[in-house]
Symmetry: C2
Subunit: 91 residues, 2 copies
């Protein structure tokens, strides 16, 4: 799976609100009512990640969850990351 170019990523992010390019990842911070709601989201993301075999980096800070997607094999963002971000948005 080829690494996307900066302009390809930029284009993809136009349809992914609040996702941003950060180094070799695309990243978004999700804010919830409290820790329990944040964990509920994390569990849903984890189930989806396991189903599609692609796992975001997940940082939990009480009611805030940062997801970062990258394709380690190619050292950058691929269509796989964009697809998973879309699926997370559709959850």
């Amino acid at each position: 799976m080829p690494q996307l170019s900066a302009s390809q990523i930029e284009k993809a992010l136009q349809n992914l609100p609040d996702w941003e390019l950060a180094g070799e990842t695309i990243r978004k911070t999700f804010v919830f009512e409290d820790f329990v709601a944040a964990m509920g989201f994390v569990i849903e993301v984890a189930q989806l990640a396991e189903e599609v075999g692609h796992h975001p980096d997940i940082d939990i800070r009480y009611n805030r969850v940062v997801l970062a997607l990258t394709t380690h094999d190619v050292g950058g963002v691929t269509e796989r990351d964009v697809r998973l971000a879309r699926e997370i948005e559709e959850m």
Copy 2:
């Protein structure tokens, strides 16, 4: 709840294998067989955290989970963090 001194933290860490002082936190990296096992651990930690009303920072990297404990109110490590670390070790 008072902030612990460096020597108090050092003493507490002697009974907390692989926990280390990192800035204003005590921190440990847990390594698991795979993502599913890591998430199982995170869910257990989250339940414990919610029960005791004290929530670690949790970073998930596939099969690795980093927990960092601090007491934000005092800007450092307190007995509360040490207690939660002990409870996590006893899980």
